[in-house]
């Protein structure tokens, strides 16, 4: 991530597809792992860990959506609904069968993948904004179904209490324990995605995105790969839903409504379509921005406004700032934070001899 190679020396496909293009990449990855897995839980307070927890959950969901929207070019605004599918699958397994998390997480993912593949069928005939409406319909249908079928929702309140996950007999209760639990899955998701996009399937996705007729001509079965993209993306969404359920201790469809789908779409667009780092940056940005703007207003708002007015101004100004900053970053770099980061890197790659 921080390495600066002096040129392109790759001579084989294997070198081009390598997970670590340079030895230093490996060290950088290890350093990040050390920082976030060892140092962060030891040094940060519970509150900051809880923010990181929310970011980790968002990272998994954003990665999944980026596979579909960024890599395969199929737009979806039903991501929130796929999360609820995972959440309720897991919650029902826990409540009725007392299933442990290593069963419920894949099960939730697989159920979401199944439903996602079904929802993906219209993508074979329609594209772009039309597909967006089809996935919107899926979002509404899934919401309605959960809301009205007690067998899924567990009663009229449509919420199922789920005990926290346990590992080797200890229940993961504190924010730090949950942080390590969520971190494991976030790392798994990052590694899986970076392997996926380097593989044959990932390259087929990119071919479909760039021009699906051309992809078909060179022998890619677009039918299969579009459905794969929907299924894989929904699998991630399902896992996100299960993680969320464990984190909060409850499955509730009101936590996965249309605005959540929009939030995740915002994450991948702001972060950068078709990039793993972009998904992570987008998840951090969208989760942290409201917190940071509020902190900023609380710290400096008192200089301009009276304390009583401040209570009224902060929430409203926060929304305005949130929207304004999204517009600002997209104007500065329409291809997202990932591109912004690469521009900075490219600048320093040849610095100070840029000519």
């Amino acid at each position: 991530m921080f390495h600066r190679e002096s040129g392109v020396f790759k001579t084989s496909y294997a070198a081009d597809m390598a997970l670590y293009p340079l030895p230093i990449t490996k060290w950088a990855a290890a350093a990040f792992a050390g920082l976030f897995i060892v140092l962060a839980p030891l040094t940060l307070g519970e509150y900051y860990i809880s923010i990181l927890d929310l970011i980790l959950i968002a990272v998994v969901g954003a990665l999944g959506l980026n596979i579909l929207v960024g890599y395969t070019g199929q737009i979806s605004i039903g991501h929130g609904a796929f999360m609820s599918v995972g959440a309720y699958t897991a919650a029902n397994l826990v409540v009725h069968l007392h299933a442990p998390f290593w069963v419920t997480i894949p099960a939730g993912g697989l159920m979401a993948a199944l439903i996602g593949a079904v929802v993906g069928i219209p993508s074979l005939r329609i594209k772009g904004i039309y597909l967006a409406i089809a996935t919107l319909a899926a979002q509404l249908i899934i919401e309605w179904t959960i809301n009205h079928v007690p067998a899924i929702s567990g009663g009229v309140q449509a919420s199922i209490q789920v005990p926290r996950p346990s590992l080797f007999g200890t229940q993961l209760k504190s924010q730090t324990q949950l942080y390590l639990f969520l971190m494991a899955f976030a790392v798994l998701a990052i590694v899986a995605t970076s392997n996926l996009v380097r593989s044959r399937i990932g390259r087929a996705f990119v071919a479909v995105r760039d021009q699906d007729i051309a992809a078909e001509i060179i022998g890619i079965n677009t039918f299969r790969y579009k459905l794969w993209a929907f299924a894989i993306s929904s699998f991630y969404a399902g896992v996100t839903g299960v993680l969320y359920t464990y984190y909060l201790g409850i499955a509730n469809y009101e936590q996965f409504q249309i605005n959540v789908s929009i939030d995740y779409l915002a994450m991948v667009i702001i972060g950068g379509l078709g990039s793993i780092l972009g998904s992570i940056l987008g998840a951090i940005f969208v989760t942290l921005l409201p917190i940071a703007t509020r902190w900023f207003l609380e710290s400096f708002g008192g200089l301009i406004f009276s304390q009583a007015d401040l209570a009224n101004i902060i929430p409203n100004l926060r929304l305005i700032l949130f929207g304004g900053l999204i517009i600002f970053f997209l104007v500065v770099e329409p291809e997202g934070l990932n591109r912004l980061w690469r521009n900075i890197r490219n600048y320093f790659r040849v610095w100070p001899f840029s000519y």
């Binding site: 780092l277 409203n316 980061w341």
Partner: protein, 409 residues
């Protein structure tokens, strides 16, 4: 980039640490309250009212020698935000919390138990949380949706001459979990009282219900209608009943369909004349505590805030805050002047008994088993430009509600 964000986090942390150092004789009440988002129509009145009451208590010297500190955060009715804010308020040292929103109450319930901080959800949240043994740190402290529905049926029964046999009741509800929640109790009551009931769902956001109202007024023609709606939809409903010619004196609104703002948005008091509203805190201006708050503003040389005119929502905020303050008072008394913990305040809540603040609240009796305090409601009718009290505080079918709470296990 990740390390950069950590640096920001650490910097933010240092700033918070400065703000969080609490002084000796202070207790922190934390609340979440939405001045933005889908429920802002309630929040813009509700949130400042909480602060007003705390200011009043502090201006009178606080509680048992302790000043009340406050923390208000807006979660935009989003659950992740609510969780983050909860963690922050916990870190600030909150000993009691006011929750805002039903999904938020469900998401925070488990955390409240783990952190031993009592949280209140008056008039919303989980009906089954009336059971203090199963939900030790969640306090509805006012009539839950189940008690509200039972209260409405009791009122309708009296209105229709003491018997509901063969009568028709329409239940109009917002199609979300909170809207569905009263259904089991209504079905139980249907069996007991032998009335006929049909439910009419209003899909969110609830601003279009011409078809449902026409169906009710022209085809079903019920003897009474129960409105269980939120946000903008209550005002739309009132308008539509008027247009369809269904008498509003045969409509009762549950607690979130019964504020001044709803009446005004429907076209004013004349339009809604006759509409019955169910309340868990008194409506109107005739309560001594409201005069005290006005006097406090006058003493500062300021006009009382406009929000006070929305008496229904304002008074509910007073109920919520006053019970928190009272619980803290009980807790400090019990600990002999030591700064109370969340656990002490929980016990303080469970000692609240007959604290009515001049009739603004019902004669609540909160116990370790009953966190609802009895499920009292009161009916007010729109008459001549204001809410007029129709009944005294009463409990509708407490045994049926208790059975439902027990069954929810």
């Amino acid at each position: 980039m990740r390390s950069a964000s950590t640096a920001v986090l650490v910097a933010v942390g240092l700033c918070f640490a400065g703000a969080a150092t609490a002084q000796e004789k202070e207790v922190l009440i934390a609340w979440q309250c939405d001045r933005t988002g889908p429920t802002q129509i309630v929040g813009v009145v509700y949130c400042p009212a909480i602060q007003d009451y705390i200011d009043l208590i502090n201006s009178k010297g606080g509680v048992e020698g302790y000043k009340i500190k406050s923390s208000e955060l807006d979660n935009e009715y989003k659950v992740p935000q609510a969780v983050e804010e909860y963690e922050r308020q916990k870190q600030m040292g909150a000993v009691s919390m006011m929750i805002y929103g039903t999904p938020q109450a469900q998401a925070l319930n488990q955390k409240l138990v783990e952190d031993k901080i009592p949280g209140t959800s008056p008039g919303f949240g989980i009906s089954a949380s009336a059971d203090g043994t199963r939900f030790p740190y969640l306090f509805p402290i006012a009539a839950t949706y189940w008690s509200q529905a039972a209260g409405a049926i009791q009122f309708i029964k009296e209105k229709l001459g003491g018997s509901l046999k063969g009568k028709k009741i329409a239940y109009v509800y917002y199609d979300n979990p909170a809207g569905h929640e009263p259904l089991p109790v209504l079905e139980d009551l249907q069996k007991i009282e032998g009335f006929e009931m049909r439910s009419f769902a209003v899909p969110p956001p609830g601003v279009e219900m011409g078809a449902q109202v026409l169906d009710i007024a022209q085809r079903y023609r019920p003897d009474f209608v129960i409105n269980h709606l939120f946000g903008r939809s209550p005002s739309v409903a009132v308008k539509e009943y008027k247009r369809a010619g269904y008498p509003l004196s045969k409509v009762i609104g549950l607690v979130w369909a019964s504020a001044e703002a709803d009446i005004l948005a429907a076209g004013g008091w004349a339009v809604a004349e006759g509409y019955h509203t169910l309340q868990f805190a008194g409506a109107g201006d005739d309560y001594p505590i409201r005069q005290e708050i006005k006097a406090m503003y006058k003493a500062q040389g300021k006009e009382p805030p406009k929000g006070m005119d929305d008496t229904v929502i304002y008074n509910r905020a007073i109920l919520n805050t006053a019970l928190h303050v009272e619980a803290i008072r009980n807790a400090i008394k019990a600990t002999g002047g030591r700064k109370p913990t969340g656990e002490d305040v929980k016990k303080g809540f469970e000692q609240i008994h007959d604290f009515t603040l001049g009739g603004l609240f019902p004669p609540l009796k909160i116990t370790p088993e009953d966190h609802e305090g009895g499920g009292w409601v009161q009916i007010f009718q729109v008459k001549g430009g204001k809410f007029v009290k129709e009944t005294d505080w009463f409990r509708g079918y407490p045994e049926v509600v208790a059975a439902a709470v027990k069954k929810a296990e």
